[in-house]
Symmetry: C2
Subunit: 346 residues, 2 copies
C-alpha cells in the first residue's frame, strides 16, 4: 500500500471490522437502522485513529447535497467598499451556517451578471441553497429558480416574486426617523436617500419620510429631496446642494449613515453646527455612528440578525420544512444620540 494514500471509509471499515455501509451509517448518524453501541464505538474510534475525513466531492456526488450554501451579493465595487454593513450580515450568516455544519460560498457580482452567477452555482449543484442580497433582481432569471423550487432566500426588498425573504420595514423605519424630527418641531425637513431611485430600498425609505410628513399634516416638497449613492461623497454633494436652498432646511433625514458622514462634512464646511443649525437623523447605525461629531441619531438595523435569519430560513427550505413565515421582517428602532435638537421657538 502506498504510504501516503488518502484514508477512505474502506480503511475505517477494515480497522473497525465492519463494512463501509456501517461506517457511513455511524458517521452520518442515520436514524433508520439501529447500530449497536459497541459497533458504533469501534467505528468512531477507528475513524479518529486514522484521522478520517470524508471526501467532500464523493459525499456530494452520492448524496446529492454539497453542504454548501451560496450567497450572491449584487453590488458594485464601490458599494462593497463603503458598505459598513456587509461584515455584520456576513458574520451573522456564517455563524448560522457553521452551526449547521455547512459552508458558505460567496460571490460578488454586478447587477448585469447576477443571472449567470447563480444559475451556474445551482445547475452545477454546487450549492444546496442560495441567498441573494442586492437591490433588485432580474425576474427572468429568478423564474428558473422558482420553477425548480430551488431553496432561495432574498435579503432585501421583496419583489413580487414568491421567494422567501428577510428584511426590515424600510418604510416604517424611515417614517420613524422623520417623525422624530417632526416631534422636535421641525417643519422644513429635507431627505437625502441612501441610493438612486432605481433601488427599491431607497424608494421605500423616501416614501416613509413622505408619509411621516403627511401624517403630521406637513407638505412634501420634492425640492427638499436629494439622492445619495451609497458613499460619503454623495452625501457631501447632496448636503452641499441642500445648504444653498433658501430657506435652508432645519433638519435632514439621511437614509444611510455612510452617506450622512459626508453630509456632516459638508455642514461643517459651511460653518454650521449640528444640531444647533441643522438636525440630522441617519439610518443603519453603523459602528461609527456613535463616534461622529456629534454622535449620530439614527435608525438601528439588526445587520447580523438579517444574516442569521436568512440562514435559518434557508435551512428550513432546504430540509423541505414549511417556514413559520415566508417573509421575515426584523425590527428597527430609533437610537437617539446628539445630532438632533428642538427647533428654536417651537
Amino acid at each position: 500500500l502506498p504510504p501516503n494514500r488518502r484514508v477512505t471509509s474502506q480503511d475505517v471499515a477494515r480497522l473497525a471490522g465492519v463494512s463501509r455501509t456501517t461506517v457511513s451509517l455511524v458517521l452520518n448518524n442515520v436514524s433508520g437502522p439501529q447500530i449497536s453501541a459497541d459497533t458504533r464505538q469501534r467505528v468512531v474510534q477507528a475513524a479518529q485513529d486514522l484521522g478520517y475525513v470524508p471526501d467532500a466531492a464523493a459525499q456530494a456526488l452520492a448524496s446529492r447535497r454539497s453542504q454548501i450554501i451560496g450567497i450572491i451579493l449584487v453590488r458594485s465595487p464601490q458599494q462593497v467598499a463603503s458598505d459598513a454593513f456587509l461584515n455584520h450580515m456576513l458574520a451573522g450568516l456564517i455563524d448560522t451556517v457553521q452551526k449547521r455544519g455547512m459552508r458558505l460560498l460567496i460571490d460578488i457580482v454586478a447587477q448585469e451578471h447576477q443571472e449567470q452567477a447563480y444559475l451556474e452555482l445551482v445547475r452545477a449543484k454546487r450549492i444546496d441553497g442560495l441567498i441573494l442580497a442586492g437591490p433588485s433582481f432580474d425576474d427572468r432569471a429568478l423564474v428558473a429558480l422558482e420553477q425548480q423550487s430551488f431553496p432561495t432566500v432574498l435579503i432585501g426588498e421583496l419583489p413580487g416574486v414568491g421567494f422567501a425573504s428577510v428584511d426590515v420595514d424600510n418604510r416604517a423605519a424611515a417614517h420613524m426617523a422623520a417623525a422624530h424630527l417632526i416631534s422636535l418641531g421641525h417643519t422644513r425637513i429635507a431627505c437625502i436617500t441612501n441610493a438612486q431611485p432605481s433601488y427599491a430600498a431607497a424608494v421605500e425609505r423616501l416614501r416613509g419620510y413622505q408619509e411621516a410628513l403627511y401624517s403630521a399634516g406637513l407638505d412634501f416638497d420634492p425640492r427638499l429631496v436629494r439622492y445619495g449613492d451609497f458613499d460619503p461623497a454623495s452625501g457631501y454633494k447632496a448636503m452641499h446642494s441642500l445648504l444653498s436652498d433658501t430657506p435652508r432646511p432645519s433638519a435632514v433625514f439621511v437614509a444611510s449613515d455612510t452617506v450622512a458622514l459626508g453630509a456632516l462634512a459638508a455642514i461643517r464646511e459651511a460653518h454650521l453646527q449640528v444640531p444647533e443649525d441643522i438636525s440630522l437623523v441617519g439610518y443603519d447605525d453603523i459602528p461609527f455612528a456613535l463616534y461622529t461629531h456629534p454622535p449620530l441619531t439614527t435608525i438601528h438595523l439588526p445587520a447580523a440578525d438579517l444574516g442569521r435569519k436568512a440562514g435559518e430560513l434557508l435551512f428550513r427550505l432546504i430540509r423541505h420544512e414549511t417556514p413559520d413565515a415566508w417573509h421575515v421582517r426584523l425590527n428597527t428602532y430609533l437610537v437617539v444620540r446628539q445630532s438632533c435638537g428642538a427647533l428654536p421657538g417651537s
Copy 2:
C-alpha cells in the same frame, strides 16, 4: 426517460453523436488530443442546446480539483464588525478568483478554532487552495499543511514558517507615520496601537514608531504607549487616559483609523482641538478617514490589492508554478490631510 432529468455529458454526447470522452475533451479544452473543428463545433452546440452544466461534485471527484479556494478569517465577532477593511480585501480577492473561473468559500473562525476549520476543508478536499487572514497562526496546525505542501497563502504578518504571504511592511509604514509627526516638530509623541501586543502587526507598528523616534534622536517613553483593541471604544479609552498625562503629548500616532475615530471623540470631549492642541496620524485609510473632523492624515493600505495579490499568488501555487516572490510586500504611503499641525514654536 423522465422529463425533468438532469442533463448529463452522456446526453450531450448522444446529441452530438460522439462519446462522453470527446465531450469532456472539448468542453475542457484539453490540449493533448486534436479534435476536428467540426466535432468540436457539434459538441459545443449540443451542450448549449441542452443547457448542459457539468456536475461540480462529479467533476471534483474525478479530477481531484474542486475549483474552490477557501479563505479563513481568524477574527472575533467584534473585529469583524469594526473591520472596515475586510470588504475591500474580499472584493479584490473575489475579483481575482472570478477571473480564474473559480469560487470562494469563506469562513470566519475564532483564534482557537482555526485549526479544525481549515484542516477539515483541506482533508475533505473541499478546496484547492487556502488563504489565511488573521493575526497569528497556530504553528502546530500549519505544520500539517506544510508537510503535504498544500497551496496556502497568508495575508498578514509573516511567521517563521515557510508559507507564501502577502502583507505590507507594517514597521516601515508606522515609521513613516511617526516621522511625519516628528518632521512637524513634535517631540512628545504618543502611540495608540491597533491591537493588543499579542498581535504581530500591533507589535510591528509599535516598533516602527519606536524606531522613528530613535532615528530622530528622540527618547522612547513607554508611558506614552496605549494598546487599542480594534474598535473605536478602545481608542476612546486610550486617548482619555493619555490626555490625563502631564505634560500632555502634542501628537499621537494611532495605528488604526477605526481606533482613531474613538480617539478623536475623546479629544473633542476634553474640549481640545485637532490639530491645534493635538496632532493625529492614523493607519489604514478607511473610506471614512476622509470624512472625520478634521479629515484624518493616515497611512494608506492597499486593501483590495492585498486580496488580489493573495489570490494570484495562490493560483501560482495551485498550478505548481514557482511564484516570483514567496513574500509579497505591498506599498503603503502617507496621505496628508488635516489632522496634523506643526508644533507651535518649532
